[in-house]
């Protein structure tokens, strides 16, 4: 068996780490080492970097306290951690709103792998709809925004999003549909949606 920090064995999956931490609490630190950077990035994207470190710390503290309730069949703990972080983000609603408003005045730099659609989207949004889009996200009901951003920004699957938020997959679908409908309505008001659809259809 391989060994990690301080000679601790490197366990196969997160569920094994969490299970081991019930008898050996120190083992839980390995979960932090595995996922803290990713969870921190998610939090920073949503509420800004200034308080992201505080919230990521709180996320893992909550996770540590709740580890007895972790579902052992879930090998990957990321959805669980995303869920805790999302709950904590909801308590920083003003910070998230401020973060979204920043998009209305500063050009974002898309960090996704830039396929043509995304490049076009980045160019267009930079000049035309950034404000409307950010405002639409800001005005979404919290539960719908959580679903939309976990899927669009964090690339979680429907099932992972459902696991993160503790809701059925069907609920994820319906919330996502409602969120997308609201976003499209906001974009339609800018006159962009038809233009952009046309650009994509010509690919």
């Amino acid at each position: 068996m391989r060994t990690g920090t301080a000679g601790r064995p490197v366990r196969a999956d997160d569920a094994a780490v969490i299970e081991a931490s019930k008898a050996d609490p120190e083992a839980f630190a390995e979960l932090f080492d595995r996922h803290a950077q990713m969870i921190h990035r998610y939090i920073a994207r949503r509420i800004g970097p200034q308080i992201a470190e505080d919230v990521v710390a709180e996320t893992f503290l909550v996770a540590f306290r709740r580890r007895d309730r972790y579902e052992p069949a879930q090998a990957d703990a990321r959805p669980w951690l995303y869920g805790i972080a999302t709950h904590l983000i909801s308590q920083h609603r003003r910070d998230e709103s401020r973060q979204l408003r920043l998009h209305q005045v500063a050009r974002p730099t898309p960090s996704v792998e830039p396929g043509h659609e995304v490049r076009v989207a980045g160019d267009v949004t930079a000049e035309t709809v950034r404000g409307a889009l950010a405002a639409a996200l800001d005005e979404l009901p919290d539960l719908e925004r959580d679903v939309l951003l976990l899927i669009a920004w964090e690339q979680l699957s429907y099932a992972e999003t459902a696991s993160a938020l503790g809701v059925p997959v069907g609920t994820v679908r319906s919330r996502l549909n409602r969120a997308r409908h609201r976003v499209r309505e906001a974009l339609a008001a800018t006159g962009l949606s038809a233009t952009f659809r046309e650009i994509l259809s010509n690919e």
Partner: protein, 342 residues
């Protein structure tokens, strides 16, 4: 289905790179400390499971430099001579304490059987107090009434009074106790307006104030009683305790808190680092109680509570040059209207 909207949403994703591990060292240290605490077996009781649901630490609601209790503007402006005259239209006494006796009245007093054992930490004392007072019954002010509070020193000629509208929809007043002399008029500011930043919060009784520690902390920030901290971690020492402690002074010295709200405040303090227990603390009226103290930027403030009833008695403050403040909560009653200020 065309995914153009999802593509656009994705394009709006902020460009945040993965933080290097050293940037997350403080967060990891907190986890390590929690692990060590559990291994030592000294995890504090959490009767309502709040820690499990919403995190173990209190949210970081720190004040900016120079933060003072909001109410101080009113108290400092109160004028000269005033007696302890009961305001016109007293309806129900809320008995907070008596200048004549060492222990206050029964309002928040669950009885001696709730007295905590000795050698407690501040968190343990606060948790015990929260449990003891949470289910008490106290008079509830009607929306049109006022909460009249007097604070000051014994035999003082300038004790200070506050008349705050129970629902914040009428003007409030700060002035000399009894309503003599000068006063300051506080514009109406109910909770919804305060939460949107339209005015400065001033209400005497707030039934919608949450009774869970986490929600209460958020509420205090929303209405501007407490302030979030966004500075670097190395400058945050005791700022949470400072803003929360001063929020307590602000509220206890002008507002009527329900037992469950007061219990939530105690729980929130219990989850906040920086408070220490002072076994014997004496307020300005000479009443001996239990102190909950914190230090911040060279000064120390002690909130003093009755040992048996957990009622708030007052506070003392010491700066680097010695005592700076010693104030007692002398009276708090529900009145139908404020005095007729001239």
């Amino acid at each position: 289905m065309n995914d153009f909207d999802l593509v656009l949403v994705t394009s709006l994703r902020p460009d945040v790179t993965l933080a290097p591990p050293q940037h997350l060292a403080a967060a990891r240290d907190q986890l390590t400390a929690a692990i060590a605490t559990e291994q030592r077996g000294d995890v504090l009781a959490d009767p309502d499971g709040e820690a499990a649901r919403a995190g173990d630490r209190a949210p970081q609601i720190f004040p900016p430099a120079g933060h003072k209790p909001k109410r101080s503007r009113g108290w400092q402006a109160a004028g000269a001579i005033a007696g302890l005259v009961v305001a016109a239209g007293v309806a129900v006494a809320l008995v907070i304490g008596s200048a004549a006796g060492p222990t206050p009245g029964p309002r928040r007093g669950p009885g001696p059987h709730h007295q905590p054992p000795v050698a407690l930490t501040a968190a343990q004392w606060l948790t015990t107090a929260a449990t003891a007072i949470a289910n008490q019954r106290t008079p509830i002010p009607r929306p049109g009434q006022y909460i009249y509070t007097v604070i000051g020193q014994p035999h003082s000629t300038n004790n200070e009074g506050a008349w705050l509208s129970a629902n914040g929809r009428k003007p409030g007043f700060f002035g000399q106790a009894g309503g003599h002399g000068g006063h300051i008029r506080i514009p109406p500011c109910p909770v919804p307006a305060a939460e949107t930043g339209k005015c400065e919060f001033d209400a005497g009784y707030v039934p919608q104030m949450p009774t869970s520690p986490r929600a209460l902390a958020d509420f205090l920030v929303r209405v501007g009683i407490a302030t979030k901290y966004h500075g670097p971690p190395d400058r945050s020492k005791n700022w949470a305790a400072n803003t929360l402690g001063k929020s307590m002074i602000t509220m206890f010295s002008s507002m009527d808190l329900s037992p469950r709200q007061q219990a939530a405040l105690f729980k929130l303090m219990a989850k906040t680092r920086g408070f220490v227990l002072v076994k014997r603390a004496v307020d300005a009226l000479g009443r001996t109680g239990t102190g909950i103290a914190w230090s911040y930027q060279g000064g120390t403030v002690t909130l003093i509570f009755d040992r048996h009833s957990y009622a708030f008695l007052g506070w003392t403050a010491h700066g680097q040059g010695g005592p700076t403040d010693r104030v007692s909560l002398i009276k708090q009653v529900i009145v139908n209207r404020p005095p007729s200020f001239k």
